[in-house]
Each structure stands twice: as structure tokens, then as C-alpha cells.
Symmetry: C2
Subunit: 284 residues, 2 copies
């Protein structure tokens, strides 16, 4: 059990799922959401010990404040919250870009900041899609800033385990580069591919008729719409650009390589992906 | 029941699954595979009424010959088979590119050619992954050539229904353009994305650590390795190029559009993809 009074700011898919999981597994659980309908829905679902009356009320009381808000709101809301946190309280954010967040929040807390990114999600956000099992088996990236204390990092490990997940500690640059390749670029490609097929389908019904399970899977992330991709494009542009340029190099090589060399390359890629899948438990 | 003696050339994932499904649902089922191990495996699985001794032996006997061989072998094996087919026999191929196949096979048969493309597959090929339910609910594209007779097209519809699938008739250009957008380009992107992450993972363990369900789905098609993508790149280059250039236009716009316009675009794409998914029964 997490022996802290935990506060969760933002009760969408991530914050809501955390609340469902942590209720009864921490000393006390408070929550608040800027959207009154979401907050009253959370109250009627009984997933909080206490609904706070605002950001200040939430921040004042807790030992651990988790910001589960859209990436673009993390820094402004975090800086606001810091002014009300008690001494020794810890602040974590669940955003998927860390460099610009660590830069601003780490100096504002005395060792009490930790980036916390659970690698779990659904194509549809919101409290209505939340589940206490969302983080089961998921990796939680723990991203300390230059001044994060060892105790703060330990608390991140405890939180990950209480959520049913695993954890790994990494630096903000390594984190943002990694998610650029395995999360943000895939979102971009998925949306662009669905967008191309949408355009092409205007020229005839065959495109929609022929779409099958391969298309379904590659375009699943496009269902997320603007909420997922829009802020990342600005906040993680450097690593999205790096990933995109490596990706375009791969596309050019696949289109131009001789058959033998291409065969070897595709075989190597398939083997790497298969091994990764085995390690992750993705393959039957 | 399909009142024909059906011959299947190639007993991999597609041909093997067809044999499993058609056994007992047609007058007689013969099969042959160029790989003796595959053929003897099919015999011992009991999925054929008769194992032929070669291409000629198979072609001579049947009313409907299905070529379920890799795309690059369809034309040469088809032309060879035509010489042995009896009058009035029908030839269908299951390949995923039709323009260059129709061009060569349609004139060689007197109305008895039909392109038949079942939109079903698995990331792993081979008889070992075949299943009689593979085509359940799948769309079978029926692609007549200029001289295909109405009876031949009717037989294609019967075959699709016997396999448990649906059918739609379309021209070879429309077919190849459609699969360029919804199948071949997705395979290319999936392999290139997995390839980029493989390269990036050499720079540190974060890339592999952070890969989660989004990455899993977008790169699933890369598990197919060379077998799927290699011949298509040549045979459907025109439409893969068209699809790729529309895709790259979409990528550039997503990266450069103003927030408001981008939000609208991503929302429109998500809505289109959602409606498509509902129509296909992909969404819970």
C-alpha cells in the first residue's frame, strides 16, 4: 500500500484509471478535474475518497500530486500547484514528452519532481474508458530531473507497482527519443495513412471495400484524433523529426534495394520485431 | 456446394485454407505444391481428395484451377497450366496485384480467367497457419479481364460464398489502386517503421523498453518479412507510388498545419476511420 495521501489532477483516461486502481491502496485519495461534469461523474462513480474544490484545495492536502492532464497544460498547472504544495510533497506528471516539462518543473520543486509516464492507453480517452486494470503489466517510465531526490524516485517505483505495472528509470532525452520512435511517429504515420485512404476513397468505393485487418491495425491510432498528436508535434518535434527522417530513409531503401539485399533487410526486421514481441508477450 | 472438380496449386496459407474449407463442399478437390514437404503434409492432414503428381496432372483433371502461389509466380505457372486445362475450365489466381496478371492470363483463356483476391491473411504464412475459417466474412475481390465470361464471374461469386466470404466485382486498375492504399502501402510503412525502431534501438535500450500496444499494432505487418512485400513493390509500383506520395503530403500537412486546422483534419480522419470500422465490425 502506498502510504501517502495521493491527489490526482485530471480524471480522464489516465487519471481516472489511476484513481480506480489506487482507491483503497493509498492512505487517502483526492481528485479534481477542471470539467465539472467529469468531476461529478467521478464522484458518483465513487472512485475518490474526496473531491477537491479546486487546484489549490487539492495541492494543499496531498503528499503526492499526480498531474494527469494534457501535455500542453502540465507546465502551467504544475507551476501553479507548486505554490500550494506542502514541504516534502512530491509532484509527478504522466505526460508523454518530458524534456520541456523537466526543464521547468524540476527547478521549481526541491528534489520533489519526477516524470512518470505509464505506457498504456486506449484509442478513446476520457473517464468513460478508464479501467483499474489499464496499467496491468505496463511499463512506467520514471524520468527524474537533475535535482530529483532518491526518495522521490523510490516513490515512483512504489506507484508503478501499486498500479500493477513495471518501471524503468531513464533520462528525459532518452525517454523523448524513445517515445518519438515507438509512439509519436507511429501516431503520425497512422493518421497520415488513414488520411491518404480517406482522400483516395473519394475516387471510388474500392479503397473502403478492400480495407481489411492489416489496414485496421496500422490505422488504429488515428482514432485518437487531435488530442493525442497535436501537442506532441510541438513539444517533441526534435525527436519526431529524427524518427521521421530515419523512417523515410528506410522507405527509400525498401523501394530501391535489390531483391536479395531487400529480402535480407526485411527478414532482419521481421526477426527483430518477433523477438521484441516475444519479450513483450504480444505473440501467442 | 460448388459442383466442380476444384484444383488448388500452392498449399500455403491461402491455398491450404481454401482446401480445408472446400473439402466436402465441392465435387472433388485435388491439390499440388512445388514443395514436396508441404504436399506430403497436406496429404497427411487429409485436406485433399487427391494429391496430384504435378502441375500438368492437376490442370488436366479440374474444372476450376486456383493458383494460390506467390504473386511473382502467377503468370509463368498460369501460362503453363493453360496448356493442360480442358475446354471450358476456369482459372483463378489469388494474388494481390491484378493488372499485370490480367494482361497476360486473360488473353490466354477463352473467357475462363478471373482474378480472385480474398482480403484475408495472417502475418505468418504457410500451411501450418492455415485454417478453414480464414475467409469467414472476408471480402473476395472478383477481377474479370476484358474477355471473362459472365459464367466465370458467377463461379467466382459461388467460390467466395462457399469460402464463407463476401464478394465485389471490380476492374484491375481499381483493385490495384485500392490495395496500394489499404494493403501494400501499410506493409511498406509497417516494415519501415519497425526498421527505424530497430536502428534506433542500437543507440540505447529505451526504444525497446517503451514500445507498447500502439507500436505493436502499427508494426504487426512487418512480421510478414520479405514474402509479402518484395514482389508487390515491383508489380504494383505505380499505385504504391501514388499512395506513398499522397501519404507524404498528409505527413507534411500534419507537421506544418496551424493547430486549429490540424485539429479539424485529425478529427475528420478519426471520424472517417471510425465509420469505416463500424461498417467492418472492427469496433466493440
Amino acid at each position: 500500500m502506498l502510504r501517502r495521501h495521493v491527489g490526482i489532477l485530471g480524471l480522464g483516461l489516465i487519471g481516472g484509471s489511476m484513481a480506480m486502481r489506487l482507491k483503497g491502496r493509498c492512505l487517502r485519495l483526492s481528485g479534481w478535474d477542471g470539467d465539472p461534469r467529469v468531476l461529478s461523474c467521478a464522484i458518483s462513480m465513487g472512485i475518490l475518497d474526496r473531491a477537491s474544490s479546486g487546484l489549490e484545495d487539492l495541492a494543499v492536502g496531498c503528499d503526492l500530486l499526480v498531474l494527469a492532464v494534457p501535455s500542453s497544460c502540465i507546465v502551467p498547472l504544475g507551476l501553479k500547484a507548486v505554490r500550494h504544495l506542502k514541504d516534502g510533497a512530491v509532484l509527478m506528471d504522466t505526460g508523454s514528452v518530458k524534456v520541456p516539462v523537466v526543464e521547468r518543473l524540476d527547478p521549481a520543486l526541491s528534489g520533489g519532481y519526477l516524470g512518470f509516464h505509464p505506457m498504456a492507453g486506449r484509442e478513446r480517452g476520457g473517464l468513460g474508458n478508464a479501467s483499474k486494470d489499464l496499467f496491468e503489466g505496463a511499463l512506467c517510465a520514471l524520468v527524474p530531473g537533475p535535482s530529483s531526490s532518491p526518495e522521490t524516485v523510490e516513490l515512483g517505483k512504489e506507484l508503478a507497482e501499486e498500479l500493477g505495472g513495471r518501471w524503468a528509470v531513464m533520462g528525459p532525452e532518452e525517454h523523448d527519443r524513445g517515445v518519438g520512435f515507438v509512439s509519436h511517429l507511429p501516431m503520425l504515420l497512422s493518421a497520415a495513412l488513414a488520411g491518404s485512404a480517406m482522400e483516395a476513397s473519394k475516387g471510388g468505393s474500392e479503397v473502403e471495400l478492400l480495407a481489411a485487418s492489416g489496414f485496421r491495425d496500422v490505422t488504429r491510432l488515428s482514432l485518437g484524433g487531435p488530442d493525442l498528436l497535436q501537442p506532441l508535434r510541438r513539444m517533441n518535434r526534435r525527436y519526431i523529426d529524427e524518427a521521421l527522417s530515419e523512417f523515410l530513409r528506410q522507405v527509400r531503401e525498401i523501394l530501391s534495394q535489390e531483391d536479395g539485399a531487400l529480402g535480407d533487410r526485411l527478414q532482419r526486421i521481421a526477426r527483430w520485431r518477433e523477438e521484441l514481441g516475444r519479450g513483450k508477450g504480444w505473440l501467442n
